[in-house]
């Protein structure tokens, strides 16, 4: 099976029609984001009205020059006055246009900021299960690439719509009193133009949206391929990657060409129809013209020119309007991808009566705990055990036995489905999330450091920590000496832009980070397996020091860790197989003894099966 098959199937499954009503509801959502900017909206409406009025001045006064200056009778007196009006109106138009663009632009940036902040906030409160199934690249591109599409729509949309409406109204208001019949003739084509513009919109919208969706997926496909290039190479799937990619490209190109076909039929129709209207006006004017060379005839010619020029000017707002509809189509696809995430409900939340409780001794109890990522497929089933204050429990089990799930339940990274977890007798759901998590120290499997200094990273959980506290945490984690050896010491930058730390150094950094808050309860996922003997020793010493006085749940990879634990918990298929001190379990002659003899005695450490910590 080709790697890109799901992507290809996805691209082919996109329907070329529909989605119109969804677009309306997305538009309503977007309007809601405008509601906080009433003053901006008011200013835009007023400025757009002024701009449209001033836009109509020049053709009107050019006609006045034809009728009253050129004549007959010729009269040069009012010429400079008319030119002055044209000039002032033009300057006024330029200024109102500038201010309008600016006000519109500022408002659009505020709205983009609001949408993105909502998106970001919602992401912060999503539980681990949300992130288990979604890539960082995709989530980032929604806030940037998709947001850019929304941005370009927001920058001009209202001004463009108002421009089309106001200019049409003002032109009708000016020309109707001059000649109702000619107005009717020239405006007769308006409904047709409107019809074709709407057709263009509704027919191409789904296609453009599909293109947007495919290009989004294609982007994350490329990203995965590049980030996972090692894996691709190891498994020799290079040809697969490229072949599948080309098929998806083809679907994309064909969709684009189809959209182009529709666009190329409808886009030029509007202006074409409008100009045909002018021909009709000319014929009518020719029929009714007075004797050539008279004042009456020149007035008629002057107004005829006014009609023709106004109609030609109308093509511009109409063209802009259909362009805006085009940007809406793209913006809508982007907005939908953003709101899809914002609207995903969070599934780990504070209970209404949650309190900021303080953990005292740190007694931890699991009672009949049931948990699964998917309903009816429990990963943990009926798990009951108690950890006395200050006790260290080493957790052992094969991949998929539920070790990580078990320890991640304590800080409520996931919520249990049945049973209860209690700390010092309080159900963990009685704690406010923030208060629970601040008191439970966590060393995750993934040793992630933020870009910033070493000091900032250690103090992450306690930004106001003193230098002494930071040094103390680093010493306990056996990383202090290494940090001191760096040229800038604790101020050395790490992360993408800083020094590159080894896996072992990163892990000790994360231990130091966990210790800064001096938590009563510590959970550790010690999955770093392939390390040299010296690093192994250092990590071991760090773990020992960290867990000395704290209630600890640790997923153990090393015999040395297991050796120093008071009790060992062996998980098998989501249930506790054995639980007790080392000697007791050896005496039991069960799973633990078998694992102990095959894994630790023969190979010392680590457990090979856990390589890579999958």
């Amino acid at each position: 099976m080709s790697i890109s098959k799901p992507l290809l199937e996805y691209a082919r499954s996109l329907k070329p029609k529909g989605g119109f009503t969804q677009s309306i509801s997305a538009f309503r959502r977007l309007l809601k984001y405008h509601s906080g900017y009433r003053w901006f909206l008011t200013a835009i409406v007023i400025l757009a009205l002024i701009r449209s009025i001033l836009f109509a001045i020049e053709p009107l006064y050019t006609t006045y020059i034809i009728i009253y200056v050129i004549g007959p009778p010729t009269n040069l007196k009012p010429l400079l006055g008319y030119l002055l009006v044209i000039f002032l109106a033009g300057i006024g138009y330029a200024i109102s246009n500038f201010v309008l663009t600016l006000v519109h632009g500022v408002m659009s940036q505020y709205i983009v900021r609001d949408i993105r902040t909502d998106y970001y906030s919602s992401l912060q409160s999503k539980s681990f299960s949300f992130y288990d199934s979604r890539g960082v690249g995709d989530l980032t591109s929604r806030a940037t690439v998709d947001m850019q599409l929304v941005d370009s729509f927001l920058r001009t949309w209202l001004g463009t719509v108002l421009n089309a409406v106001f200019t049409t109204i003002i032109i009708i208001v000016i020309i109707f009193p001059i000649s109702p019949i000619m107005t009717l003739i020239s405006m007769a084509t308006m409904p047709l133009i409107f019809y074709f513009t709407t057709r263009l919109w509704t027919e191409t919208m789904p296609l453009f949206k599909n293109m947007q969706l495919i290009i989004g997926r294609l982007g994350s496909y490329i990203q995965q391929n590049i980030i996972g290039m090692k894996t691709v190479r190891i498994f020799r799937r290079e040809d697969d990657v490229v072949d599948g990619f080309k098929d998806v490209e083809d679907v994309y190109v064909n969709t684009a060409i189809n959209a182009g076909k529709i666009q190329s039929i409808y886009t030029p129709l509007g202006p074409a129809i409008l100009t045909l209207g002018i021909a009709l006006v000319y014929v009518y004017a020719g029929e009714t013209l007075g004797v050539p060379g008279t004042a009456l005839a020149i007035a008629q010619v002057g107004y005829l020119i006014l009609f023709a020029r106004y109609m030609m000017r109308l093509t511009m707002p109409i063209r802009d309007l259909s362009q805006t509809l085009g940007t809406w189509i793209a913006a809508y696809a982007g907005l939908e991808r953003i709101l899809e995430i914002t609207d995903t409900p969070r599934n780990v939340e504070d209970l209404p009566d949650a309190k900021g409780l303080k953990i005292g001794k740190g007694k931890l109890e699991f009672q009949k705990v049931t948990f699964g990522y998917v309903k009816d497929r429990p990963v943990l089933d009926d798990v009951t055990f108690t950890v006395e204050p200050g006790e260290k429990i080493a957790i052992l089990g094969a991949t998929g036995s539920g070790k990580s799930s078990l320890i991640y339940l304590v800080p409520r990274f996931y919520d249990i489905q049945g049973g209860s977890i209690k700390i010092d007798g309080y159900d963990i759901r009685e704690f406010k999330l923030a208060s629970l998590r601040k008191q439970v120290g966590v060393v995750l499997q993934d040793v992630f450091l933020f870009s910033g200094t070493i000091r900032e990273n250690i103090a992450f959980g306690k930004p106001d920590a003193s230098m002494d506290e930071i040094v103390q945490a680093a010493k306990s984690a056996r990383i202090h000496d290494f940090i001191e050896s760096l040229p800038s010491g604790y101020d050395t930058p790490v992360g993408e832009r800083g020094v590159t730390l080894s896996g072992g150094q990163k892990q000790r950094m994360t231990i130091a980070r966990a210790l800064i808050t001096d938590p009563r309860i510590l959970i550790m996922d010690d999955s770093l397996s392939f390390v040299d003997a010296k690093t192994e020793q250092e990590i071991q010493a760090a773990i020992e020091e960290a867990t000395k006085t704290r209630t600890t749940l640790i997923i153990a990879q090393r015999f040395s860790t297991i050796k120093t634990a008071q009790k060992i918990l062996v998980l098998e298929n989501g249930s506790i197989a054995e639980f007790g001190p080392h000697e007791e379990l050896i005496a039991n002659n069960g799973v633990y003894k078998r694992v102990y003899e095959t894994q630790f005695i023969q190979k010392a450490s680590p457990i090979i099966e856990e390589a890579g910590g999958a």
Binding site: Q263, L304, M312, S435
Partner: protein
């Protein structure tokens, strides 16, 4: 060891000096386009034909007013209306053909370039993907490809339309009246200098937004990659504060770019206005003298419109052209990467 710790940023990409001349890049893109030569030729000719038929419209108006209506020679409508309709329909048809064929060329050329990039990425040394480089590499088949796609589809066509509109407008104006044409173009040098000068500021402001945007993207990416840590330490508020700060910087830079970018339109409009006044003043005199007719005067004001805006458009297009050339160069950079050694399957697993 990779030696560089640099993360991807637009700033670094922008700073990079271009090494290949434009001509060379265009030649290589044309190699891709050659398979779609038929589409390209049809599209380009349709673009020119569309612009010319578009320009014929004001002239047709002038004929209608001066030679048909004013002289009450209504029988001339027998040829004028079919010709007018034909020109408009032709304009419509040419525009359709152009949109359709240029889209095919744009999409297909970029798709094939992207295929070549992906193919090359599968065989280059794994060292190419060293730490911190992923973002930069990813942006080539995605962001850069998109820049080129948009340019081939819209930019190239509007450059063709602009050039043929300007040339056409000049030709017709010269045919209509030499003196008025010279008056009309007298303001051109000022306009070009002004647009160029203001364009420089707006380009600088735009580049700043690119930098803050890439900073914001990097921040978002890091915050999301570290979200589990943030949640584990209940530091959501603190992290959000920093993100909002980075976002505010971006908002400020963008607003500044909008301010500078839109501030030159009043000047452009003002200059065009001066041109219109000159034409109206001398034109009205000329009509009174009897040296030109009313229709020609009106046609002139319209043609002044039809060369001025394309010209401004063309000058401002320079920016898009430049960034497209850089994007094309970066894409070829991937395609041209030398395959040094074929890695043995596990060799690349460093640390």
């Amino acid at each position: 060891m990779s030696g560089s710790y640099g993360t991807f940023s637009t700033k670094q990409e922008e700073k990079r000096k271009r090494t290949l001349p434009d001509r060379e890049l265009i030649r290589r893109v044309y190699k891709y386009a050659r398979s779609y030569r038929r589409n390209l030729i049809i599209g380009a000719s349709a673009t020119v034909a569309g612009a010319i038929t578009g320009l014929a419209a004001p002239y047709m108006h002038a004929i209608a007013i001066d030679s048909i209506i004013e002289t009450k020679d209504l029988s001339a409508f027998i040829w004028w209306i079919p010709l007018f309709v034909a020109i408009i329909m032709g304009n419509f048809a040419f525009q359709s053909i152009q949109t359709y064929h240029m889209r095919i060329v744009g999409e297909k050329v970029v798709a094939r370039m992207r295929d070549d990039m992906m193919e090359k990425l599968q065989v280059v040394s794994l060292r190419y993907f060293s730490e911190g480089e992923a973002g930069r590499i990813i942006s080539r088949p995605t962001n850069d490809a998109n820049t080129v796609r948009i340019f081939l589809r819209l930019g190239l066509t509007s450059i063709l339309v602009d050039i043929s509109s300007i040339m056409g407008a000049f030709a017709i104006m010269l045919y209509l009246d030499l003196r008025l044409t010279l008056l009309a173009i007298s303001i051109l040098p000022v306009a070009i200098i002004l647009v160029w000068f203001l364009g420089k500021y707006s380009r600088a402001a735009y580049r700043r937004t690119l930098i803050t945007t890439s900073g914001l993207t990097a921040k978002m990416q890091e915050d999301l990659a570290g979200i589990k840590v943030t949640q584990a330490y209940a530091q959501e508020e603190e992290t959000k504060k920093k993100f909002l700060k980075s976002q505010d910087e971006n908002v400020k830079a963008t607003i500044r770019a909008i301010l500078i970018g839109s501030s030159y339109t009043p000047f452009v409009i003002g200059l065009r206005l001066i041109g219109t006044m000159i034409i109206l003043f001398y034109g009205a005199m000329a009509v009174i003298n009897g040296s030109i007719q009313i229709g020609v005067l009106v046609a002139f004001t319209e043609y002044q419109f039809s060369y001025f805006m394309p010209l401004v458009d063309l000058v401002s297009m320079y920016d898009q052209y430049q960034s497209t050339m850089s994007a094309i160069e970066r894409m070829f950079d991937v395609i041209d990467t030398k395959v040094e050694v074929l890695d043995a399957p596990l060799q690349g697993a460093s640390h």
